[in-house]
């Protein structure tokens, strides 16, 4: 058994290719006689074609082999293959009263990298997506500043730019799973998160231009849509409305904040805040105001609707916790997951995604036995700050039931919690920030189910 493979077969009982042929036995013997260094090559030789069915029908050409295809610009803005029509954002009807103040989910089960294509970025609206005319749009920066200023979208594009790849996650990601297993799809358990390359102006550039008063400890952004959404963002020294300090973990995220006009190299999509949005890497997405029209620097939080009613945690001691701003380390296996069925025993590659609002992913560990034993997965480059990181681990499935799960650790040493640990501190009335270890159960049939482990 190769060192970096994880398997559901107990070590020592496993015999590669049990339905062995005479040829195979012969190879084994010769391997046993050979020097130790030859073991890897011999293993692959022993596996070649072993135990597989044989295709005998002569191959036929596909229809496309004898025809002409479409000319250039027949589709001026390219679209996915018609065979990929199932790869779309989806929503859950019963979650919200209508689709205007609602959410849709990214189909991570069908994505293979770390970037979410723009048309698949999750959506969250409080008053629907609007079409803001960039030639008429302005951004005002004011409050505790030396000089209030106003910018056109072109002004912002002229300023020194900043580009970085970051995830953006609604803190309600996983919300439906707090009280029990509910959604049999990765899209619905983890799809309120997307990851893009963002381009815009750094907030600090604008702060320097307007001369922010060093006594400012908060700022907020406001949108030009019907919700005119506003959220308070803490800076160093921020205290809440009761004079209680905001933890230091949360008061430097604003330094990476930007006013974005581009997403994956093209203009923002209307769904994601065209023509400009605020973006604060690592923080819950609600704070990254879309359709941004105003930034105000202040010395206290607003305590808005979003901060008093929506983005709070009702704790088991009856208190209501505010300013849970960071999306802490999280990860999930997106292959296999409930959206696929395994096609017989043998080798698979476990693949997944991990992310943390505190920084880079340091390790991802994978277990296939319900969390008793773990193996460190391979992290696929690039491994970036507050960004989705892909991980892989070869997996040999023996055709028996298996409980597969991943556990991320970020560069601060924070380890993704189990559901039990999370429920111990947050109880059952939480809605947001459910970043616990996700367990998938592989059935003997190859079907994959969403399950929860309650006792460990």
């Amino acid at each position: 058994m190769s060192e970096n493979m994880i398997n559901t077969v107990p070590e020592g009982t496993k015999k590669t290719g049990e339905a062995s042929s005479d040829r195979r036995k012969f190879l084994r013997k010769s391997v046993a006689l050979a020097a130790g260094g030859a073991a890897i090559a011999a293993t692959s030789a022993a596996n070649a074609g072993d135990g597989l069915k044989t295709w005998t029908t002569p191959l036929k050409n596909e229809p496309t082999r004898h025809m002409l295809g479409r000319g250039v610009v027949s589709v001026p803005y390219g679209l996915p293959s018609k065979y990929e029509s199932g790869v779309v954002r989806r929503n859950v009807g019963w979650l919200t009263a209508d689709t205007i103040a609602s959410i849709s989910f990214t189909p991570w089960q069908d994505l293979h990298g770390i970037i979410t294509p723009n048309g698949l970025h999750f959506e969250r609206y409080h008053a629907g997506a609007v079409d803001v005319d960039p030639s008429k749009h302005h951004l005002v920066v004011h409050g505790m500043v030396k000089q209030p200023m106003i910018f056109t979208v072109d002004d912002l594009k002229r300023l020194p730019s900043h580009t970085a790849i970051h995830f953006l996650e609604c803190p309600a990601n996983g919300a439906m799973e707090w009280r029990g297993v509910q959604m049999d799809s990765l899209q619905f358990t983890h799809g309120m998160m997307s990851c893009s390359e963002w381009t815009g102006v750094k907030l600090t550039t604008l702060m320097e231009m307007v001369g922010v008063d060093p006594k400012a400890t908060w700022f907020y952004g406001e949108g030009t849509d019907g919700s005119a959404l506003q959220r308070s963002v803490p800076m160093e020294g921020a205290v809440d409305q009761h004079g209680r300090p905001i933890p230091a973990e949360y008061t430097s995220h604003y330094r990476d904040a930007m006013v974005c006009y581009a997403q994956n190299g093209e203009a923002l999509r209307p769904e994601n805040g065209y023509p400009i949005r605020l973006f604060i890497p690592g923080f819950e997405a609600n704070i990254s105001t879309k359709y941004l029209r105003r930034l105000m620097f202040v010395d206290k939080p607003l305590v808005t609707y979003q901060e008093t009613k929506h983005y709070i945690e009702v704790l088991p001691n009856g208190m209501v916790r505010q300013y849970d701003l960071v999306n802490e380390a999280n990860s999930v296996i997106n292959y296999p997951c409930p959206d696929f069925k395994l096609n017989g025993k043998g080798t698979y590659e476990i693949r997944g995604i991990a992310w943390s609002g505190y920084g880079k992913i340091a390790h991802v560990d994978v277990s296939v036995d319900g969390g008793k034993n773990w193996k460190q997965a391979n992290l696929v480059e690039p491994v970036l700050n507050k960004c989705v990181t892909k991980f892989t681990l070869p997996f040999e499935w023996d055709g028996e039931e298996a409980l597969i799960m991943s556990r991320a650790t970020d560069e601060t040493g924070y380890v993704q919690p189990t559901l039990k640990q999370l429920r111990e501190v947050r109880g059952f009335n939480s809605i947001y920030h459910k970043n616990s270890i996700q367990v998938w159960k592989i059935e003997k049939t190859g079907e994959v189910k969403n399950v929860q482990i309650e006792n460990v």
Binding site: Q376, Y414, N450
Partner: protein, 239 residues
């Protein structure tokens, strides 16, 4: 800070200075954060506070920036029946899945949370809202949902007054008048429950081998809670 700016802010700053007893240094953002910011010239325009005023519509929790004007419970009742009740219910109980105005009494809300039974579905202005000025802010900017930002200041004060009356907020009797001096004085029942996050609250360890004894208790989907079909994508065979 420009001259006109001062007038806007002097009130708020004074209030903060009285309310908070931390040292002056504790209020400063780290100006070092701006050290690496590029120096830029000739981009954008200066703007006056008077020009910004129509956009400066945020009312702080403590009443800072609340507008002139006033509203009454009785005027609010009429507006509520015409523009709000279809979604939030005649008695604030919520309709068609839209939010309730009136939730469980705050002690019941707290007891449910402590007992680990559902507390969040029965939230309302009387158990999960911190400050009356931000209720005015929310209604004036975002409601009615189908025509946000269309209420006049007096209408917004009135309907804010009415929904608080509906939710039996202490002090908001039938004759109560809502304005920029009365709203900050209202004690919302849910306010004392708010606490502030203090950083990561779980401490999992990175165990690699024999991490626990016994069998995992695996829970599969409960039949009683929602189910969703994802159509074709579900159970797609691997290639």
């Amino acid at each position: 800070m420009s001259k006109s700016k001062m007038s806007n802010w002097s009130l708020g700053l004074a209030a903060a200075a009285v309310a908070l007893t931390l040292s002056a240094n504790a209020f400063a953002f780290d100006a070092a954060a701006l050290k690496s910011a590029p120096k830029v010239q000739g981009v954008g325009m200066n703007i006056t506070d008077a020009a910004i005023k129509p956009w400066n519509i945020s009312y702080f929790y403590d009443g800072t920036n609340l507008p002139d004007g006033k509203g009454t419970v009785s005027a609010g009742e009429k507006i509520y029946q015409e523009q709000c009740a279809m979604c939030h219910g005649d008695f604030g109980e919520g309709a068609h899945g839209y939010p309730k105005m009136v939730g469980d009494p705050v002690d019941q809300f707290e007891a449910s949370a402590k007992a680990g039974v559902d507390a969040v579905s029965n939230r309302g202005l009387n158990n999960n809202w911190g400050n009356a000025p931000t209720l005015m802010d929310m209604i004036h900017r975002h409601m009615p949902f189908y025509a946000p930002g269309t209420l006049t200041t007096d209408e917004a004060y009135s309907v804010t007054c009415y929904v608080m009356n509906l939710a039996s907020i202490p002090g908001v009797g039938d004759d109560f008048v809502c304005d920029k001096t009365s709203l900050p004085k209202i004690k919302m029942p849910g306010e004392p429950l708010y606490v502030t996050n203090s950083g990561p609250d779980t401490a999992n360890q990175r165990c690699m081998k024999d991490c626990y004894k016994g069998t995992p208790f695996v829970v599969e989907k409960a039949a009683s809670i929602g189910n969703v079909s994802v159509g074709k994508v579900k159970a797609k065979d691997t290639q």
